[in-house]
């Protein structure tokens, strides 16, 4: 046998080394020059977990929590971790569900999400279920409680102001405003939640986690050095008085309308009621879409914020402003009087006045106290026909500019979305409407708050602020501080004092005195508050509804505006109750109760009777529902007619095509026959 130095041992060693060298060479290139593997490794193994911070909490003016977050628990299941010996009976008993449901949910989880990944088993457990599960959690491997935050409204009040949140929709994601959002993110959809979304939302954090083959997150990647921490949403401090809001909402129960109260010295909104109100807790979590649809369909339209979106003809409540402009322009002096005999006949048609006794409009104060229609129609005409102006067009424009200055006919800029503008006619408007053939008589009704003038309750309250402050106002707003910072840049515009066109203090004093007379000796005696000088004006606004193209005259709106006290005013208020009758009967007591509640913190025992009457009154007319259903029916018919028409057109087109085809075929056949 060849023993000594067989050359083949070297060949074999060479093969060993050669193959090893090839392997090392391959490793060298694989590990040093192929960057794609690094990227791929990160792609598959690193899981970016987005952590949502809690949304900002909203406090009222007294520091009471109005809107916060609450933890709810979802029960999650990882089917592959559920042992075969699982005690299903006990588990189902604990959750109070039948066995079939258990099997159904588990099967669905496996089918949808594979058995190794966590799927929801049951969302939003009840507190009892949560407690029972937590006690026995050790007995149910594979199941886990996962905490989730949802919004919690601490009372049923102020839902329309606070708004609600919901998932961003596909359409929203396309807009630049929602660039930083992703599908599944929550965002404010109305009210303050929408307006202050940026502040409330906070900043989400990103945590990098390693994940395994089954997409299950594991340890933090590289010990979490790349993570960015989430930042909680900032809190909002409101001017709103939660107690007052609740009280006002109770007073407005079973009435359609609105109450808006503003602190004239800051412009802060103290309460804003849109009645009927809804329980904001309905519009959160899984039930939101369902409840939203339900609320949306209601005839009384609870989702419509009447405080800023509904526009009413102000009726007599505009008379202080009419007077203010007339006095300011120097058209009349406070002692100007009119001998009204129950009607105003200078404009060919007669305008009725409530009062017939002589001297009820002997001067401005008396006229306002008695709410004399003739007087205010007349001074309105005098204002726009003033000899200093070249024409009525210029006169009306001057008047219109004053009103615009009072934030009428435009958005006040309140910090709520979707604010209405109201309606303020100017010369161009009338010229367009009446083809230039109009004069002061054509538009005379505007002087007494009817006609083409329409205000939102917020605008009415704001105009009260102007009178109360004698010439200035702050843009009405809800938020006092963002994240405890009163000087946040988002709030800067609300610190700005808006001075109205030069109207002298004495002019305001005259109007204020006159409005005080309204309460003390005029139409609004029911609005008196003991020991407080209340200035107010009632209004009874005629209104018409258009139902299916027909104009129907409806019951009057009950309107009321006021502020108190006269010196150092602390509250300005506007109340509008739809189709309720006289302003003095309903709107005035409600406004006065709200003011009293705010100024004195409680309502005196003497007024309990009035309070009860207001609380219990149901002023929603049956015909609201009738009209609503009539409108809906009409809409449905219009829709059906359109569908029918389209179907008819389609079938005609089809029939035509068929006929054409038949003719063409016939021609072909004929030709074929002739060839034969």
């Amino acid at each position: 046998m060849p023993v000594a130095a067989n050359p083949r041992q070297y060949i074999i060693s060479f093969i060993f080394i050669g193959i090893a060298a090839i392997i090392v060479l391959r490793l060298f290139f694989l590990q040093n020059f192929e960057a794609k593997y690094k990227i791929l490794a990160n792609d598959i193994a690193i899981y970016k977990k987005v952590v949502y911070p809690p949304r900002g909490v909203i406090f009222d003016r007294k520091g009471k929590v109005m809107l916060s977050n609450t933890a709810i628990y979802d029960l999650m299941v990882t089917p592959s971790n559920v042992p075969k010996t699982f005690d299903t009976t006990q588990f189902c008993e604990m959750l109070d569900i039948p066995r079939s449901t258990y099997i159904a949910i588990l099967t669905r989880a496996v089918v949808r999400n594979s058995s190794v990944r966590q799927s929801p088993f049951m969302e939003q457990l009840s507190p009892a279920q949560t407690a029972r599960f937590q006690e026995n959690a050790y007995m149910f491997p594979g199941f886990e409680l996962v905490e989730r935050n949802i919004r919690e409204y601490h009372s049923k009040a102020a839902g329309i102001v606070l708004g609600y949140i919901g998932e961003v929709s596909q359409d929203m994601l396309k807009k630049p405003r929602y660039l930083s959002y992703r599908q599944g993110d929550y965002t404010g959809l109305s009210g303050l939640e929408l307006q202050y979304e940026e502040a409330l939302r906070g900043q989400r954090g990103v945590h990098y986690l390693e994940r395994d083959k089954f997409n299950r997150p594991r340890d933090p990647y590289r010990g979490g050095v790349l993570d960015s921490q989430e930042i909680s949403g900032r809190q909002l401090d409101l001017y709103l008085d939660a107690e007052l809001q609740e009280y006002a909402e109770r007073l407005m129960a079973n009435k359609i309308g609105s109450v808006v109260a503003i602190d004239p010295q800051t412009g802060g909104v103290l309460c804003m009621v849109s009645s009927p109100s809804y329980d904001p807790n309905l519009l959160r979590g899984r039930e939101r879409a369902k409840n939203y649809a339900k609320l949306y369909r209601q005839a009384t339209r609870p989702l419509f914020n009447r405080g800023i979106q509904a526009t009413y003809q102000p009726g007599s409540t505009i008379k202080p402003m009419t007077g203010l402009v007339a006095l300011a322009t120097g058209v009349i002096s406070p002692s100007f009087g009119l001998g009204c005999r129950g009607s105003y006949g200078l404009c060919r048609r007669s305008i009725a006045c409530e009062h017939k006794d002589a001297g009820h409009a002997a001067n401005f104060r008396l006229a306002l106290a008695h709410s004399c229609n003739s007087y205010f129609c007349h001074i309105f005409r005098m204002t726009i026909d003033y000899r200093n102006y070249k024409s009525v067009r210029e006169g009306l424009q001057v008047w219109s500019d004053y009103y615009k200055n009072f934030a009428i006919g435009r958005q006040t800029g309140v910090d709520l979305p979707f604010e209405g503008r109201g309606l303020l006619p100017d010369s161009a408007y009338y010229s367009d409407r009446y083809k230039f053939s109009w004069n002061s008589c054509t538009v005379v009704f505007v002087g007494m708050g009817q006609g083409e003038l329409a205000l939102t309750p917020l605008q009415m309250a704001n105009s009260m602020c102007i009178i109360a402050n004698k010439g200035y106002y702050y843009t009405p707003h809800f938020v006092k501080a963002i994240g405890k910072n009163e000087n946040d840049s988002a709030l800067r515009k609300y610190k700005e004092k808006h001075n109205v066109l030069n109207i002298s203090d004495s002019t305001f004093s005259v109007v204020q005195r006159a409005m005080q007379d309204v309460v003390e000796s005029g139409t609004a005696m029911g609005a008196r508050i003991e020991g407080v000088e209340v200035c107010a004006k009632t209004g009874t606004a005629e209104n018409k509804a258009i139902v299916n193209g027909e104009v129907i005259k409806m019951q009057n709106h009950s309107m009321f505006v006021a502020f108190a006290p006269r010196q150092n005013p602390r509250i300005a208020i506007a109340v509008a109750i739809e189709n309720a009758g006289f302003g003095a009967t309903w709107a005035a007591p409600i406004a006065s109760l709200v003011m009293e509640k705010y100024l004195k913190d409680s309502v005196t025992v003497k007024r309990k009777e009035v309070e009860d009457k207001m609380l219990n009154a149901n002023l929603i007319n049956e015909y609201v529902y009738t009209i609503d259903s009539a409108i809906r029916l009409h809409d449905l018919m219009v829709y059906n007619a359109r569908v029918e028409k389209k179907r008819y057109a389609d079938s005609t087109r089809r029939a035509n095509a068929e006929v054409m085809l038949a003719r063409w075929m016939e021609g072909k056949l004929k030709k074929a026959r002739t060839i034969k």
Partner: protein, 441 residues
């Protein structure tokens, strides 16, 4: 001489023992790094694979100790008996084996399972060594060569019958041993040529290959035209070679692919050379099943390459292997354990590991060459060849140089049968080597 002999434990080859222990330790560390979680409270967790592997290491050392205490003549004397028993067990396994992923290569008793194919390597190595070392064997005769080939390949055939083709391939490593013992050079060259032909057949389109081979043959004919004119043999050789190549590439390979190889094997072969399985070999299409083509072996190799490739030069660091730790690499404790090294310790670690293996193999070759006993020498070559095949194919398949066939990385891969059988191989070698002054037949 026997009086001056040092104690047994001083005569053991320290280098091999050291390399063996280092490699097993690396293996346990690798399995640990894959399995460890930051949430683990303790390192000692009996349900984890690395602890089981540690226990297997303990068994291996115990068995190795027993082997070292055994008389070295014992191994050569029981070689044929052991081989016969091994064959019997292999045959039994074909019928009585446990079905694991479609192959019947495991024997199970309760929860304990082992793969006779792994252990049979030892017996085959011993039997081959014994046969070639017999004084009456003349390896120059065809008869003895055939007997040697039969000894090596009978277990392979049985293992193929168990549907564990990968393991069977390892038995071809014994050709390396036979080459050392005198198999002619031409066989080695022929073997490489066949491999080259197979590869070109798979890589190049059939008609193109036909043209290429013909052009190649004609060119050789032109170059050697003087020799061809003078003598008959070269002419016959050239035409015969050309014909063989044509038949092989045009007829034999398509036949094997269509009728012999199984679907997953075809996929593996094609995924290795980086090509899609051609439609004509696509078993799903042939069978007419509307099964979506899922190339799992391609996925495995990709994941393995991602893990190793993402390691870079220095690696991601111990316990930071995102791919291996999070179970992206399939079979990562067993066949793909190399990924854990490649990902965590990068090129430096991988190259070092390769160097360790090569050192071990060269050391074993060196040990073989210093023997006076032919049995020990041949046995040593068997051990080196087995290690080499396992090492080369396993690492090559993790980096996409070889098809994915389920064979383990010696000493590193998790698994009792594998570690135990390699340990026995090494310890028998150590025992035989310690008596190298004696002549063992």
């Amino acid at each position: 001489m026997s009086l001056t002999r040092k104690s047994l434990f001083y005569r053991i080859d320290a280098a091999v023992l050291l390399l063996y222990i280092i490699l097993v330790a690396i293996g346990i560390t690798a399995v640990f790094s894959v399995e460890h979680r930051t949430t683990d409270t303790s390192l000692i967790m009996m349900n984890k694979s690395y602890m089981k592997q540690l226990i297997w290491f303990g068994y291996s050392l115990g068995l190795g100790f027993i082997i070292l205490l055994t008389d070295s003549k014992f191994f050569s004397s029981i070689a044929f008996l052991a081989y016969t028993i091994g064959i019997a067990i292999l045959i039994f396994t074909i019928f009585g084996g446990v079905d694991v992923k479609g192959s019947r290569s495991w024997l199970g008793v309760g929860s304990f399972r082992f793969q006779p194919g792994e252990v049979a390597k030892i017996f085959t190595a011993m039997a081959l060594a014994r046969f070639l070392a017999l004084p009456e064997t003349n390896f120059k005769t065809l008869k003895d060569r055939l007997i040697a080939v039969a000894i090596a390949l009978v277990p392979a055939v049985l293992i193929i019958a168990q549907k564990e083709t990968g393991l069977a391939l390892v038995y071809f490593c014994f050709f390396l041993v036979m080459y050392r013992e005198g198999l002619p050079n031409t066989i080695l060259i022929l073997g490489f040529s066949v491999v080259a032909l197979v590869l070109t057949t798979l890589l190049v389109e059939r008609k193109t290959l036909f043209v290429l081979l013909t052009v190649f043959a004609v060119m050789i004919g032109l170059l050697m035209r003087h020799a061809l004119r003078r003598r008959m043999t070269p002419r016959l050789l050239l035409v015969g070679g050309w014909l063989f190549c044509i038949i092989f590439s045009q007829v034999a390979v398509p036949f094997v692919f269509k009728h012999v190889l199984q679907k997953h094997q075809i996929e593996r072969i094609y995924s290795t050379i980086g090509k899609e399985v051609p439609d004509e070999y696509d078993k799903t299409l042939i069978a007419g099943e509307e099964v979506k083509k899922t190339n799992s072996s391609e996925y495995n190799v990709l994941q393995s390459k991602i893990a190793i490739g993402s390691g870079g030069f220095w690696g991601k660091g111990f316990l930071n292997g995102t791919s291996t730790k999070n179970q992206f690499v399939p079979e990562q404790n067993t066949d793909f354990i190399f990924c854990a090294i490649g990902e965590q310790f990068g090129f430096v670690g991988s190259a070092l590991l390769v160097i360790l293996y090569v050192s071990l193999m060269l050391r074993i070759v060196f040990i073989g060459e210093r023997q006076r006993s032919a049995f020990t020498r041949i046995y040593a070559y068997c051990v080196a060849s087995i290690l080499f095949f396992h090492f080369a194919i396993n690492i090559s398949m993790t980096i996409g140089l070889a098809p994915v066939i389920g064979i383990t990385l010696p000493f590193l891969s998790y698994g009792g049968s594998s570690l135990l059988s390699f340990s026995i191989l090494i310890f028998i070698l150590l025992r035989l080597d310690s008596d190298r002054q004696h002549l063992i037949r």
